[in-house]
Symmetry: C2
Subunit: 244 residues, 2 copies
DNA sequence: CGGTAGGTTGACTAGGATCAACTTTGGTGG
DNA sequence: CCACCAAAGTTGATCCTAGTCAACCTACCG
């Protein structure tokens, strides 16, 4: 998938894009897309590829993360748990997303692969110097951090003030909006019922019941466990109470 | 409170700290504390003081914010509402906190003063150039953004997975931790019951009932409506289920 | 004094959790 | 190919927490 990072750059000039970055499918959508070649090269120098198996963690809640990463393939969850085991998913990271923080504090959440996942990882400790040398990287991180704040705030409104039905409808709409698919086509649902429940602050039974109810009302169809079809987009939007 | 910004700087040398910044009570705790004098001066040049009356908004949900600010005195809330009026507070900003984003997107939340509030405001549009000229400002914003992400994630766990009692106990503990007060002393409670409910994703009645229950159990005392005393810190910690 | 905003308390309700049984799906090895 | 098994999902009955609705209290202000 990647070319060997030790392969000599064609031409070795200061501004040549690293070969594996040139081959990277998510480069333009990620952090790496908005930075000049110099900065990209610096990033490439300290980054390496890593594969996480399903269920494997990149960052543990309570530990000081030593790695940050940019997702290539797969899906990871950010989640926090209470000591008695109750767990709340805090968000998902999709390809091109950046995961991890900069500070030295123990992470208040864990990062775990939900599917086989491939990412570019970087040692967290190298970031401050990197940002100082290449302010564009800092700027790109800042923009992403504000985007993430925005998403989290929207999700808090959902968790604090909406009904189970609104939450489920809202989640389906978000998945539908993410994959740019023709209306009426099946949308892939990369989460199990349990994972949807964790994300929505509900139980698995409630998620299942609400999905069944929407199916019964002909708002959606459930061709199999890992996809759904929107039959009545207007009704779904109504159920979601305008939480996009 | 501030000196007139048009007053000539004593000496006008490039590195003199602006007079009103020297007099600023929250400078060291805020964004402005971690940046070199050059950057501080640049900030000072575009900033001005603003007072918000109780209930007055700095940023409206749905509008593109034209101002960002650093709090001096007072208390503001960040909150988002659904179209039917349900409202969820997303956080509070205390003196020294930075409010506002950088992007041009319409704000997904509003910023409103809960008390008479004084802040330094800056035109949002000036930030990108400012950050480019003074990367330290960008870095300081980045650190603050990650701190805020952390806070929000902790709050999401609260909203998604904890009981009303745990939420109320957790809030009281946070207020107690904020003001460095001797144990046993009354802690100021700057929110009305309604505002606590908005913040905790509960109703005013539930908040009132839980407070009364804790008072009945001699965990706290409620000398008046705007303060409380922790009588049994261990019991309160227990009730908060280790959500600090 | 009366009015109002904020707060408390009680009775009742409903939405979602819990507990339990059962079904479907998908993978593995004989 | 099928039998078997574990994991995931569904459905039903019941319970309980927090929401709703309503009455009432209290402090403060003109």
């Amino acid at each position: 998938m990647y070319m060997d990072r030790h392969q000599p750059d064609l031409g070795a000039a200061a501004w040549t894009m690293p070969a594996r970055c040139a081959a990277c499918g998510v480069r333009m959508a990620s952090l790496c897309g908005g930075i000049p070649a110099r900065a990209l090269e610096a990033l490439n120098r300290i980054g390496r590829k890593r594969v996480l198996r399903r269920g494997e963690a990149l960052i543990w809640q309570g530990d000081v993360a030593e790695q940050v990463g940019i997702l290539h393939h797969g899906l990871v969850k950010l989640s926090a748990a209470l000591e008695d085991g109750r767990e709340q998913m805090l968000g998902l990271a999709f390809p091109a997303d950046f995961v991890g923080g900069i500070g030295e504090r123990p992470s208040s959440y864990g990062v775990t692969a939900l599917t086989e996942t491939e990412l570019c990882i970087f040692p967290r400790g190298a970031l401050p110097a990197l940002i100082e040398a290449h302010p564009e990287i800092g700027h790109a991180l800042l923009m992403r951090a504000y985007d993430e704040l925005d998403q989290l705030r929207r999700w808090m409104l959902l968790l604090g003030r909406t009904s189970a039905e609104e939450r489920v409808a809202s989640l389906l709409r978000q998945f539908a909006a993410r994959g740019t698919c023709p209306p009426g086509a099946p949308v892939s649902l990369p989460l199990t019922r349990q994972q949807m429940a964790e994300l929505l602050g509900l139980t698995i039974e409630t998620v299942s019941r609400k999905l069944t109810a929407m199916k019964r009302e002909r708002v959606i169809a459930l061709p199999d466990l890992r996809s759904f079809v929107i039959l009545d987009a207007a009704a779904l939007a109504m159920l979601a109470a305008d939480t996009p």
